[in-house]
Assembly symmetry: none
Homo-oligomer: 188 residues x 4
Amino acid sequence: MARPKSDDRRNAILSAATRIIAIEGLSAATAAIAKEAGIPNGSLFTYFETKADLLNQLYVELKTEMAAAALERLPLASDIHTQMRHMWFHSLRWATSYPEKRRTLAHLAVSEDITPDSRQKGHQTMVGIAKLLEQSRQNGPMHDVPLALVAALMSAMADATIDFMTQDPAHADKHATAAFDAMWRMLT
Amino acid sequence: MARPKSDDRRNAILSAATRIIAIEGLSAATAAIAKEAGIPNGSLFTYFETKADLLNQLYVELKTEMAAAALERLPLASDIHTQMRHMWFHSLRWATSYPEKRRTLAHLAVSEDITPDSRQKGHQTMVGIAKLLEQSRQNGPMHDVPLALVAALMSAMADATIDFMTQDPAHADKHATAAFDAMWRMLT
Amino acid sequence: MARPKSDDRRNAILSAATRIIAIEGLSAATAAIAKEAGIPNGSLFTYFETKADLLNQLYVELKTEMAAAALERLPLASDIHTQMRHMWFHSLRWATSYPEKRRTLAHLAVSEDITPDSRQKGHQTMVGIAKLLEQSRQNGPMHDVPLALVAALMSAMADATIDFMTQDPAHADKHATAAFDAMWRMLT
Amino acid sequence: MARPKSDDRRNAILSAATRIIAIEGLSAATAAIAKEAGIPNGSLFTYFETKADLLNQLYVELKTEMAAAALERLPLASDIHTQMRHMWFHSLRWATSYPEKRRTLAHLAVSEDITPDSRQKGHQTMVGIAKLLEQSRQNGPMHDVPLALVAALMSAMADATIDFMTQDPAHADKHATAAFDAMWRMLT
DNA sequence: AATGAATGAGACTTCATTCAT
DNA sequence: TATGAATGAAGTCTCATTCAT
């Protein structure tokens, strides 16, 4: 290999895209992303064939990171309520700590450019969370509702909570707690 | 400036925009919308000063329609659980009956072009629903959580449910019921 | 109609394209053509949907003009040899009088962008010439060769002759005569 | 600079270029040619300084091959009519046997990138054919027409015939014969 | 008021060639 | 010498908005 493709550059592009899209939305120009990444115009296309390709890879990347953050240091020895609580707060902390990532992920999630395949990959990243959820609802009223629906409801609640926390950061923790309790009531 | 002559044309544009945006997203060209509406491209700007203006008006319109649909024929004489159930199913039916409207509304909701003022108006349309919600949570565990958070949670749950119903229409009613019950547990 | 599409502008574009393509070949930029035509960049696409569209229309236009020139003031009362001679010399005169048109037509003729439909239209313009040819070969050795092949041979000979005349204009007439006589021997 | 090491690679590039240009035209990317040749894109420029250089060498190569094919196994002992006939059919067979070579050669022949020097070399390859032609017309009506014009006429006729044979392969031989006879009438 | 042609900035992407490895 | 990533100018086409008619 002459000059290997640089992971640093790829990451610089992804990271620049996250920042720019958070501000400008999906109509952000590839040239703006390249500039923010400190690389020339055409080099972006060495790493991503098309803008849509960049968007899809960014989507999967951010989804993966979010899921990983949610399960970080999960207290496997504790009871399920504690584990869920841990997961809930870690998710919310990630989202409020990296508002650009979350905002960009929200943009990507509704984009026509994200392929079914990428959405599938995005789903895959959530299997760890799904397992927790499965245990949580085991003996509860939702035990025979499709797990995907339960997951979608929980995820939607988390999203709504994050929005609220972002708007009213002074009481972020209180909101997070109230929403978790609500979610737990839903499940059990 | 007096209102332009033809309300028909205005509505034709709004309706065309709903259809086109559902398919092409917010990057739909104004010329495409005009064509779908059967009017010359320049005439669109007689009715809406800018594309952003069109988008904002469409947002408010759709929000209003959705809220109205939710409260249609509300059984005011019945107990609150019955009323909420009614509202929930009417919301979901509207969304599944007019998938283009819902899809376009989802696009608009995340657009940078929608002004705070329009969002405010969108909120206003939901006061009827908020009142129901206020009553529902009155003696329950969420009685001192900000009503806006409760509303956001419910709304997010409804959205997630609609997505699910759309993907699996055969069991739409079952999903709607399961989700309503979940929401009611959250509240009470 | 607000402002009718201007035939002048369309012709200016076609004419500019002829000039530019003669010099730069088919890789001539649409921007260069627009500039030569004295119109802004984007306006070219008001008259021609794509560059390929412009190329196709130009092809048909030039073919038509060439065929018309060949048959101009055809001495219908004279014998067929005289008529053919007239046609031959008029064709060659047109080509040598408008070298840019001919050069551009030559470029277009081998372009991948010219559709079968345009080529068909190009052929149609030559039916008048084909009729002359039909008469000419009537009792000759080529009377049962496909007319299209005879036409292709004659046309190829004319082309080769034009090239030669252009390279050696001092003896243009002599070459034209020699080639006509050769062609006539072929036919009769 | 000594000739680069691998003639195989050079030939692989030339052959790949022939295939790709036949399909995509002269706008074929050097990277596409390299890929078709199974070599890295940068290596192409070890063998050819520029794309134009590659094109010029390919032009001369194909011209040479075509001329060689025309004169292969020429029956020197036979009379001139037989020799010409042989040459004519061999030319046509080569062109119909290697349609990609012929198509690419046609593209190259009209390219602005082919230098006068290359065209000159291309001409040189045809001296053998020219000699045949010289003999053929010796006592005929074209004996004092510039030989180059006669050659151009014959060559144009062959080209037109090949096109026709390609379009209607079922009667290829019949067309080839008819055209040869026509050409012979022109000459004698 | 209504029309639709006109505008030109800017979008994405390609590509011949160079050069670090 | 061989490689293939890097470059950035240039290409085609789109589009919201304006304005002559």
